[in-house]
Structures are given as C-alpha cells and as structure tokens.
Amino acid sequence: MITFDYIKPSANKAAIDAIMKNQNAMFIAGGTNLVDLMKRGITTPEKLVDINNLPLKGVNKSNNILSIGALTLNSEVAEHETVVKQFPLLSMALKAGASPQIRNMATVGGNMMQRTRCPYFYDTSMPCNKRAPGTGCGALHGYNRMHAIFGMSEQCIAVHPSDMCVALVALDAVVTVSGPKGERKIPFASFHRLPGDHPEKDNTLEKGELITSVEIKENNFSKHAYYLKVRDRASYAFALVSVAAALDIQNNIIHDARLAMGGVAHKPWRLKAAENILKGKPATEASFRLAAQMAMQGAKAFEYNAFKLKLAPNSIIEALTLASKA
C-alpha cells in the first residue's frame, strides 16, 4: 500500500514548517477532493498535514470588510446571515456547488485549491499534462465538452471547476496566505493562473503557503445579484457555464457591474470589459446583449464544446436579467 505520514498540528507555523520539510507533503482540510485524488493514484503525498485544528474558522465582518477563515465550511459560509444579506452572490454560488453532504465537509481554502474535473486528468491510463507533464493533452483532440473557451494553451484546455471562486473573483476578493516568508495578500484574480506551458500549476501559491482567509470589501451589489449555473442536471453536476452577475442599479441606470464566468477557463474568468460596457447604461436586455457580446471576444471552441460559444453569452444575458430583477 502507498503509506503516508499524518500529523495534525494546532499552530499555523507548525503546519507550514511540516510542509517545508517534506517535498511531498500536503495540507488536507475537508478531504473531499484530495482523498479522491489519492484513491485514484493521481496525487500521492508522503505526508498529510491535517489543518483542521488551526484557528482558521469563522466569518467576521469589521471595518466594512468581510473575512472568511480558510477552514470555514462551504455550508457555513453559504448560510451565514451576513453573507446571505450582504453578499448574496457568494451564498448562491456556494449553494450551487456539489451536494449538501459535500458542502458540509468542504472548506473555503480547499474549494479554491480543488483540481480540474477533466476526465483525462482523472484516468491515469490517459495522457494529461496537468497530471503527468509531458504526456500530452488528452482533451485537445478528445472529448472536450466540458472544456475551456478562453485562455487555454496547447498543453491544457481544462477548466477550473469551482462555483465559489467565480463569485469571489467577481467580488474582488483578496486571499490572505501565510508562508515560510510570512504573510501576503493576493488579489483573487491573480490567485489562479492560466495553463501556459505549466498546466501542472493551478495557482500562484508557493510551496508551504497556507491560505488563512479570504476578504471581501463591502459593496453595493447586494440588491441585484445572481449566480446562474447551467449544467446537465438540476443539482450535483459541474457547470457547463456559470455566470456571477452583480449590478449596482440606480434609477434603472447601471452604476457599477461585476461579471465573471465559470466553466470556461483554467481560472474563474472575470469579464472587466463587459462590466465597463454596462456602466452608465440602462438595465435592459439591449445592454445585457452588448455586455455578452463583449464578453465573448477571443473565445475559441473545440470539437465538442462549440455550443459554449452560444451558451456563454446567452447565460450572461439570463444572469444579468435575473440579477436586475432580483
């Protein structure tokens, strides 16, 4: 059997040190993703550093900033009163993810770090540059219905599967991490990365860095927000396309807008140009169509995901419409 060591420290520093000492050590939180990957032989850590005793739980708001501890459960965040009232986009996105059972185990940090669901990544007898660099991309000329239409490379066309992260990138969240060199803050949009020539790297976290919290500034988007998840069944399926839409509407004029998509790229896909187009326009279908059109610039499809070129803009229109009516 593949054996591994297991420790459960109660201080951040001890956890970080443990990771630094072993090339193949990994944090484990809820385990809903990592354990699956270990069972399939996709990830084979020599040491698991269980972080569940670290003081990283809870949702707090002070000085206009909402701070969510990395170990807070997806279900706790989704149901938290402040989140539901003031950051409904985040609550909706979390509730659209996985199943109630999984949300009761999954943590915010783990959700950010979850790996792609590309079938070629999962089947160890198939090629995959993300799992086994240099073996090729099975999806490029294979079954790529779930795959990216933005920001992919020849090396990898996988998408990031998270719902929560789409809301967080739309809300300009900031990630706080703690590492061997101390603490640093990463804007959410820079946390995940595009595959380029290194699809094995999903994000910009460095060895030994521990996510400690995610922060969101208070905003004016609580009234008109909608997270639309389009998928193959009503629940418990990953997004084909998802849209996080939030509008600050005053006198039927869009004062400010936030827009991001999931299921379309290697990272949660923020649509700044489309947001800019919306600003100052009336909250009408015509404006939403313009934004959708702008959002799709540079999109490129493969054999089985060409439908996303139409589904994505349609979903943006639907999400903006629902947000404006919310």
């Binding site: 639309l228 069944r233 009503a234 629940s235 418990y236």
Partner: protein
C-alpha cells in the same frame, strides 16, 4: 379454463407495506458483499488498457510481493474452467457466441477487459497490488465507433430477420409522410449496489456463492456448467439485490473470476466491482441508430411504416433485442416493414436493460407518430386512437386483454391534455417555454415455469419458499399477499423466502414476468395447501370423516363443510387432530403457451416540460404514467415501479449517455459524477395511474407485468413535449441543452 383461475380481487387487502422495508432502511438487509464469511479475502480485477490485441507480457511480481497478497491470477496461471475448454457456451442465454472466457488466453477484446485478479487479506491491499500489475501489449487497430462502421452491419446469426406485412414501401406513396433517423446512445444500468460476489469452495467440487444476481437458479446453472458440477454442489444465495435493471440477468466474467481466485488461493474471495468497472464488465444498453418511415392519408389513417435498426455488439457475442418488434403490432397499419442489424465492435457485450429493445424502439416509433401528427395538423392522441389496434395485426389474433384506450383517457384527463394550445412554441410560463407530449409503451406479458413450496406449522406460521430473486420491485411482499389471499391466512403470519438456489426453482427476475410466473406458483401451492388441509380434515377432524373433498369450502383460515355450515375447523386444529407439527406441499406451475392470444402490457406517458429559451435547460415539470398491466396486486409497489421507470425515463431522455473516447476505446464518464442520472431535483411529482382491469387469460391473479412498461416510451414523451415547447425536434438522445440553443 378460466374457472381454474379463481382469485378473489374484491377482498384484496389495501396496498401492503413492503415486508422487508424496515430491514432495508435500517441496514439489516444483507446484500451480496455483506454476508459474514470467515477468513474472507478480497479480490480486485485489473482491466486491460487497450481495446484490441494480445498481451505480450504481464508482470505480476511486484503485485505478488506486495503486503497481504496471497495470489495473482492471469491467463498464465489460472485454474482451468472445464466449461470453457468444452468450447461450449457455459453461460447460456439468448446471447449467442462465445462468452468472454476470463483468464483464458492472451487475447484482448475490449478496453477494460479483466486480465488479472489480485487476492489479498484486505480490500485496500488488493487495490494497491492491482495497481502494480504491469502489462505490455501488442495492440491492434480497434474499432469502437458504430458510426464509422455502418458498412459492417449484419443480420444476427447471418440470417435475415426482415419482416414485411403488405408492401414494405407503401408509406413512401402516402399523401403525408415522415422519414427520420433516431439515435439512442449507450446507457449503463448502474444499480446502486455494485456487482459483487463472495465465492467459497466448501470442497474440491462444491461451492457456495453469495452473489448479486436477478436469478439464483440461472447463476447456479452457469456455475454448474462452467465447473462441471452437479446441482447439489452449487449453492447460490441472493436474499437481497440492490437493483439490477437487467445487468444481473446473466453470469459475467467477474463471477467466474472470483470462483477461480477462491480455487487458486484456497480462501473465500469477495469481489466487488468498482463503479468504473460497471461500465465494462456487466453490460449496457447498446448504441442504436434507427431509420423510421411512416405515411398516412390526409385524415390520419396510417398506410405504412418502415423501421430499421442498427445496434452494436461485441466481436465475441451477438447480443440482440426486440428493438423493432412493437412497430409490428402497436398500431393497426396494413403495410409494415422492419429490419434489425448489428455491428460487432471492440467493446464488451451489451445486455438487456430495463425495457430492452422496446425502450429504444419506442423512441423512434413514438417520435415518428408525433412528427406525423404535427405534419397532419392532428392531435397526437387522436392519431393514435384513429389507428388503434383492437386485435393484434401482426399475429392476427385477439389480445388477452388490452385497455389502452382507458389508459389514454385516464392520462389525458389527469394532465389536462386537451386544455393545452396544440401549436408548437405557443405556451410560456415565467419566461420558460412550456410544452406537453405523450407516448405509448408496450412489452410482452407472459407466464413461465415456476415452483413453490408451502409449509404450515402448528403455531400458525406459514412459510412459502421459491428460488426467485427480488431486485427491488417488492416480490416478497406481493407473493406474501397472493399467498395470504389464496390460502385465506393473515399476511403477518406468512413469510416468503427467496434468494436461495436450494429452494424449489423460481424464475429469473427479468422481462416483467415475476408476478405472473412466480405468483402463479404461489397461487398453485396455496391451493394445494388448502387441498391437503381438506384431506387431513376429512382424515381426523371431528365432523368431517364422511365429507367429500368437493363439499369443503375454505374461508378465512377455516375449512367449512358446505353441506352443514356449522361444521368448521381451523387450519391449525387440523394439524393438531392429525398430530402433525407441520404440513408441507410443493407445486409446479407451468408456463402458458396459449396460441390463441397475444399478451402484452401497455403504458401511456404524458409529460409537461419547461425549456429555458436562452440556456436550453429542460425541466420535466409533470409526469403522468398510466399502466394497463392487468390487475394490480399491490398499488404501492406498482406505483414504485412507475416512479422508478419515469425517473429512468427522465435520465434516458435528458442526460444518460455513456461516452467512449474512440481513440482508446475507453469510457470517459465512468463514474456517478460524470454519468448523469436524475437527482431528486430533476424529478417532479409523478402521477402513477392504473387501469387495473384483470387479464382473464394470463394467470390466476389477472396480473400482467409492470417493470418494463414504466420506462418504455417515456423518452419520446419528453422529446415530443420539447418539440411542443420549442418547435425543435430532437432525434438524438439525450436532450442535453446544447441541442436546444
């Protein structure tokens, strides 16, 4: 003849709760892999990673050295299966050819074929050791894509099965005609319970297995044939079966593999397939392409139909099913042509899956009928009624019973069929397009051979036994009810024992025949028990000594003398008077081979869908299914069949699709995250309705089958509703949203 079939419907108790419901929800029910067996070891199968070729080298050394491993079997060292060497077909069935011989030689027929079995002292150690087996192949070019191999379509067994009634091309000259192609993709059964077996050799030539099977006797026979063992030396148990939908109708290579592993290591071996292995080792519904032609007069009289199907099979077996059969008799059409062909591919053999053949065929037929109705500007229900077959046009004989018109009426009323606006894309609800659709389903009804025994004890306990399986429909419950009603004995004193091959032979649970076949045996043994009790009453009970058997009446647990109604004796007193602790009888019930009637169950499905005009998301908003399945013995378990069938139908219509990467011949979505079946949120409230009129011919209960018809036709009702909602005709299942935007 009809009189022999006395069954008192009017005194049928209210729908009984499942006799094993509590055991199932509390976990007390033991499924195949849960039986405690001392010193059990764990078997894990290694699958091939190529689709065609030969094994050049298989290195098991690392696996053998891994901790806890007691054996690694491959074709190089496996014990022989005598039935394989005989060259025959040790796993008989309607599927012809040479079933896959596990660990027989180096030949690879499909990707995921079992090539090695690792046996270890724990499951985890076996899994790990299995990952250490290294195999080199001489791969050959494989073909797994049916669409790229259409030129290889052949008639099964090389013989034409073309059916022609009247003029095959008549539809082409009709004033209004439709020609279209319909596709049903691979669907995988995926019952919740993974296929599992525990195999234990009690002696060199004697074996006990706990198995997931829909037929304990058929599994017993397969093992007997494979290992050349006498019946009494093969014991099969399957007291509970966690679903099957057909995947457990035959004996598969993994079952033989477990027996070989146990033989080789001398330890009992437990083998549970992984979910991914459920895609390659226990069959699936085959990908099928259907060409349909239909033509009618302007007023809706169908002149002709033509239905051609091409389906897939493996290279080593010919799997066939009745895909085109219902087109021959469902409607009263003078000119009908059907043809059925298969294409051998480098894949594992498909097998019967709920509504085998007809579930696929009805999608084409019932879509084409709907298309024709719109082309005629006629209500689809009206078109069906206009071409209603009062008698069987294929065999030219009456139906044993057919109340399909009642079913149409019940369903149409319930869903409000006539209140809709018939124009496509004319209805909306909260910004979603709304649409209604309907379809018909049918499946053969029959009665096979079965036996049962009944044992009444002095304490009043009645045990009925038969070697049948219960994969979920509620067989034990329904049999208890039939025995209770026929014997006149309270259900709570009756136990129905099943799932044990040493009991009197019962049928394999498939093809919607269990209630008919097994119920007839239970009915027969119930009558025999009464007869025996009557004889015993005459022998020893006071007041009965001069009675003749024809003077005896049985009522509510008593024997009554019809010539003097005050002379009565209870069943248990009869035993006392005879100084007996128990009385036991066994009866056989013969299959019905009535050439005078055609016997079918029928179903009608009505659905309402909502379709999002922007995203193409489809929601089944309402479902009404009506069964004409003869007398409904238990409305609760029957309704559960409909709920399950409709749920499966929603899956078939909207999401189920096994996807193969043809470059590797390997499944892409072989897990429950990627192979979508409906979740609760996809399933609306379902109205299950029953015509509930007995069939006077089929069996004493008047009950036809329920299981298949609950699913058959449903997918077409959904696509027909999607057409009504959107004006888009989807002819390729499943209707994923990309097909609608």
């Amino acid at each position: 003849m009809e009189n022999e079939f006395f069954f008192n419907y009017d005194t049928m108790p209210d729908p009984m709760d499942r006799v094993d419901g509590k055991m199932k929800v509390t976990g007390a029910a033991k499924y195949a892999s849960e039986h405690p067996v001392e010193d059990v070891h764990y078997g894990v199968l290694v699958g091939s990673t190529i689709a065609r070729g030969v094994i050049k080298n298989i290195d098991t050394k690392a696996a053998e050295r891994a901790p806890g491993v007691i054996g690694v079997l491959t074709y190089l060292n496996s014990p022989k299966v005598p039935g394989y060497d005989a060259g025959g077909n040790p796993v008989k069935g309607r599927t012809t050819g040479q079933p896959l011989r596990v660990f027989y030689d180096e030949v690879i027929y499909f990707n995921g074929q079992p090539i090695a079995l690792v046996v270890a002292d724990t499951f985890e150690r076996a899994v790990h050791a299995a990952s250490l087996v290294r195999t080199q192949y001489d791969a050959e070019k494989h073909s797994t894509d049916i669409n790229a191999n259409l030129d290889k379509a052949v008639y099964p067994r090389g013989r034409s099965n073309d059916y022609t009634r009247g003029n095959a091309d008549a539809y082409k000259t009709a004033p209004v005609k439709i020609e279209a192609e319909y596709i049903v993709p691979v669907e995988v059964h995926l019952p919740m319970e993974l296929h599992s077996i525990i195999a234990k050799w009690d002696a060199e030539d004697k074996v006990t297995v706990y198995d997931k099977t829909q037929g304990v006797k058929s599994t017993q026979r397969s093992i007997m044939q494979a290992f050349k063992l006498p019946e009494q030396n093969v014991q099969v148990y399957a007291p509970f079966v966690g679903g099957g939908f057909g995947s457990a109708l035959r004996t598969w290579p993994h079952e033989i593999a477990a027996l070989l592993g146990a033989k080789k290591t001398g330890k009992p071996v437990k083998l549970v397939l992984g979910r991914d292995q459920m895609f390659t080792m226990v069959g699936y519904r085959p990908y099928t392409i259907q060409k349909f032609g239909i033509g009618a007069t302007a007023d809706g009289k169908i002149i002709g139909m033509s239905h051609e199907a091409i389906s897939q099979t493996s290279t080593y077996e010919e799997f066939t099913e009745g895909t085109v059969n219902m087109t021959r008799f469902l409607y009263d059409v003078p000119n009908v042509f059907t043809r059925y062909k298969i294409i051998p591919l480098d894949v594992s053999t498909p097998t019967w899956m709920r509504g085998p053949g007809e579930a696929t065929g009805s999608f084409a037929l019932e879509s084409a009928i709907d298309e024709l109705a719109y082309a005629l500007n006629m209500d689809p229900l009206e078109l069906r009624l206009k071409n209603y077959a009062e008698t069987d046009p294929e065999k030219n004989r009456p139906f044993s019973s057919k109340f399909l018109k009642d079913a149409y009426q019940l369903g149409a009323d319930k869903i409000g069929w006539y209140k809709r606006n018939r124009q496509p894309r004319s209805m909306q609800e909260n910004g979603w397009l709304a649409g209604y659709g309907m379809s018909t389903g049918t499946f053969s009804a029959s009665r096979g051979n079965a036996s049962a025994s009944a044992r009444l004890s002095a304490d009043g306990k009645l045990v009925i036994q038969s070697a049948v399986a219960d994969s979920g429909p509620g067989t034990a419950t329904v049999m208890t009810q039939i025995a209770s009603e026929t014997v006149g004995w309270p259900a709570n004193k009756i136990t129905f024992e099943l799932g044990d091959s040493s009991l009197p032979p019962g049928p394999t649970q498939g093809g919607s025949t269990t209630t008919s076949t097994e119920g007839s045996a239970v009915h027969a043994v119930s009558v025999a028990l009464q007869k025996k009790l009557g004889e015993l009453a005459i022998k020893a009970s006071p007041g009965f000594s001069n009675a003749k058997t024809e003077d005896l009446v049985f009522d509510n647990g008593k024997v009554i003398l019809s010539t003097n109604k005050t002379t009565t004796v209870s069943f248990t007193d009869i035993l006392k008077h005879n100084s007996l602790n128990q009385v036991e009888v066994t009866s056989d019930s013969k299959s019905l081979n009535d050439q005078k009637y055609s016997m079918y169950s029928f179903s009608v499905h009505f659905v309402k869908v909502l379709v999002n005009p922007l995203t193409g998301v489809v929601k089944v908003n309402r479902a009404v299914s009506v069964a004409d399945a003869g007398r409904i013995v238990n409305e609760k378990t029957a309704a559960s069949q409909i709920i399950g069938g409709v749920t499966g139908g929603i899956g078939m219509a909207l999401m189920e699709e096994g996807i193969l990467d043809n470059r590797y011949g390997r499944w892409i979505n072989n897990n429950f995250a990627d192979y979508h079946v409906p979740v609760s949120a996809d399933v609306p409230d379902i109205d299950s309705l029953f015509v509930n009129k007995p069939d006077p011919i089929i069996n004493p209960m008047g009950a036809k089958g329920m299981g298949e018809i609950a699913l058959i036709g449903f997918a077409a009702a959904v696509t027909n509703a999607v057409y009504h909602a959107t004006g888009k005709r989807i002819r390729s299942l499943p209707v994923t949203l990309d097909k609608l935007i």
